[in-house]
């Protein structure tokens, strides 16, 4: 099990590149959703 996880997180030596790419995209997707959602919660619902 530990070897399996190690292999996954090692990614054949490309882990830094692969997980950085996924991480940046996930962060951007979150903020693109969160900013208008927070604005709506603060101001939009009153309208």
């Amino acid at each position: 099990m530990i070897d399996y996880l190690k292999n996954i997180f090692y990614m054949g030596g490309y882990a830094t590149y692969v997980f950085s790419a996924y991480g940046i995209v996930l962060i951007a997707l979150f903020f693109l959703w969160f900013i208008p959602w927070r604005y709506w919660k603060k101001n939009g619902e009153k309208k």
Binding site: G13, Y14, I24, V25, W40, N43
Partner: protein, 242 residues
Amino acid sequence: MWALIHHFISPQKYFRLATSLLPWFTALFILLFSYGLIDGLFIVPADYLQGDGFRIIYVHAPCAFLSLFIYSMMALAAFVHIVWRIKLAPLVVQHSATIGATFTFLSLVTGSLWGKPMWGTWWIWDARLTSQLILFFLYLAIIFLQSSLAQNANGKRALSIFVLVGFVDIPIIHYSVYWWNTLHQGASLKLFSPSSIDSSMIYPLLAMIVAFLLYYAIILFLHMRPEILTMMATAEVGKERK
């Protein structure tokens, strides 16, 4: 016919339709995105040449596709605004610009993260990369011009013309890999011929592309929602005064 089109793309109709579709789109997005993410990252076999490094395709290709798709939508909205003066069209241009700029930036960053281990460099002045960088600058120009130009009707029309002129970059980006000798590979997915990617790898990619399209629809509505409500309220006040 035109009356019917105007009727269906009125702010009220759009707001009602988008509000009812929002939970369905969100659920479908979560489903497809989870499948694409888990399958692409952990389950599909490694590429015979690029090893596990190829897994970046599952975020890079959808971001790049969306950057072109969003600009095409903006150009369509700009055209609709110039010709038919539909009220929603400038809103689509305005809010899509930020989303499009984000996805163009993401495609450049993820491409760079893919390029370093595969090509040995973070960046090269290759036709595809350069034309994609120009697209990013176009998005930035539209965002900055909005604050100075889009305050009145003439300014909005000028911005729409700028968006339409910038559309010339979209076919250049798409065909750059065929017109010039580029380091960037050709299209992995093709509409009218067999794709160059193995079927075991293609389903999560398709799922991610559809998920990103749904995400764009969701985020665009969330960005436009307060302004549509203001638009509807102003129209109501106008009716009452009459």
